[in-house]
Amino acid sequence: MDKDLTIGQYYPADSAIHALDPRTKLIATLIYIISLFIFDNWGYVLGIAFLAAVIIISKVPFSYMLKGLKSIAFILILTMLFNLFLTPGTVLWQAGVFHITREGLKMAIELGIRLVALILGASIMTLTTTPNKLTDGMESLFGPLKVFHVPVHEIAMMMSIALRFIPILMEETDKIKKAQMARGADFESGNLFVRAKAMVPLLVPLFVSAFRRANDLAMAMEARCYHGGEGRTQMKPLHYHGNDVAAFVIICAYLAAAITMHAIAGW
């Protein structure tokens, strides 16, 4: 449905993971992330095995998932290097001011595995859930916060409208860019600052247009009786099904196993 959306990177496929309720996936992802912080040594094997199983069931190609990792590769390597060189402890190797310690090596490897598993775990959720469903799921899960006057429905509505307008604004950016280029604007040459400055004639019309659109949209929504979340019904309400119960049982069993192994065997 949302194949053409650039963010969220939904990967359409017919799998058991895709069929789950978005709330189930959100909670399961949270549990999985918590589990990653329980492990010490061998526990990561359990975590990675679990992740691998989920990836296989989701039918999302692994190469597709790795693309998501590329963007964080720099941060990942940097964090690992810092841990590798700056952790005090038993020195294994030394060259000038640089030294690698046993503790540092362990920390860097652990952190690397932890981060990669965390990103992959979270991207499984965004890859198998349409942005709309994700928004619905969040609205439902954060519903109890309404008691504390958090405008949960409004935030969810803003998110889904933002998703709807991303392609429109992208197209508009492209149009403005071409129009400015036709009049001699140069977006490509010069250093970072020159180029940033060149973006001004692009951003100003874009913002003006975005505000105008927002104004129109607000009026159209009001004309269609929109008055916040109160008294509103849903066309596609969320329902838990049998497969969601099964998923909860599995993720809870996984968490229990993780805790037990950590407590008994020191994993």
Partner: protein, 320 residues
């Protein structure tokens, strides 16, 4: 004409009485606001089932008037009553907006959801229709506007005319008594324009929905039941399309065009050809020309068929 087969009820669904609207401009911080009268002392009545067009040049106040019919704006003076509810009465605001649906000019800026069917369901969701009924209403509304095949598509992939039909379906799903279309075709290409006007006319004819069409395209209004013409905030003309388009010179004064056929007939008449005023369709023009030329047609003329070259020659002979 449509008016004869349609059921038009006597009671007014929209009643505008001596309505005026000022909008304020704030030139600078601390200065007195400058009031500009956008609509001045307008009165009109629209009955259930009618197809009414409101014409006017840019800045004539027609869009401002339209926004009053949905209680998006409230009159500075006078009153606006929709299905018996005064628009200034806050307690019936949602009744008014549900009964008088509104379609705007820019199709992109009025579609809320990323999937067609979810957008059509947006209105019913807001008025608290139960889930099952939303689904039936969405299917019905999409069926009526001929967009059912696109129900799971993303609106971004649709053409302008299709987007406007989705917007119309979105309004129809709220089961309104009347639809106000504020220049729905202004941003569309000729094909999209035809699509939208066709859909609107079908709704008026088959569903008996009152239609108020605001436009500056003359071709779209020749089949309306009644036309109002606005200029500089005033209601300057009203009547049937034939009555309005009989006054070509007056319309020109108001910087409005007339349909091409009417224009041709008007010019011929000025040159001494014995044609009546207010010819609206090509079919009528051909018929009149044949009458003058003394030709009686045996085969039925289809709308849009070009005139027979022989007949054109006859006219030229007469003129010479």
């Amino acid at each position: 004409m449509d008016g004869q087969t349609k059921k038009i009820q006597e009671d007014a669904i929209v009643r505008v009485q001596d309505m005026s609207y000022d909008y304020y401009e704030y030139p600078e911080e601390g200065q007195e606001p400058v009031a500009t009268r956008a609509v001045d002392d307008v009165s009109l009545e629209i009955r259930q089932g009618e197809f009414v067009a409101i014409l006017g040049h840019n800045g004539s106040g027609k869009s401002t008037l339209a926004k009053h019919l949905n209680a998006l704006l409230l009159p500075s003076e006078g009153s606006v009553t929709i299905t018996g509810f005064d628009t200034t009465d806050d307690s019936h605001l949602w009744d008014i907006r549900q009964n008088a649906g509104m379609v705007f000019q820019n199709p992109d800026n009025q579609i809320i959801a990323s999937v067609v069917e979810e957008d059509v369901g947006f209105g019913p969701e807001n008025i608290g229709v139960p889930t099952d009924e939303i689904w039936t209403r969405v299917a019905e509304a999409l069926e009526k506007t001929g967009m059912i095949a696109y129900r799971e598509h993303s609106p971004n992939k649709l053409s302008g005319g299709q987007k406007q039909r989705v917007a119309i379906a979105g309004v129809m799903a709220m089961k309104p008594k009347c639809i106000i279309l504020d220049e729905p075709t202004a941003m569309l290409d000729p094909n999209g324009r035809k699509e939208v006007i066709h859909a609107v006319r079908e709704l008026n004819k088959k569903e008996g929905v009152t239609v108020i069409l605001i436009t500056h395209y003359m071709e779209e209004v020749i089949r309306a039941d009644r036309i109002y013409v606005m200029d500089q905030g005033h209601l300057v003309m009203k009547g049937t399309p034939r009555e309005i388009f009989s006054q070509v010179d007056r319309l020109k004064e108001l910087r409005l065009d007339v349909p091409q056929v009417t224009q041709v007939a008007h010019e011929l008449r000025k040159d001494g050809v014995d044609l009546p005023e207010g010819i609206l369709t090509r079919k009528e023009l051909v018929k009149e020309i044949c009458r003058i030329a003394g030709i009686t047609r045996t085969k039925p003329e289809r709308e849009g068929t070009a005139a027979n070259p022989d007949e054109v020659t006859v006219i030229q002979d007469r003129k010479r």
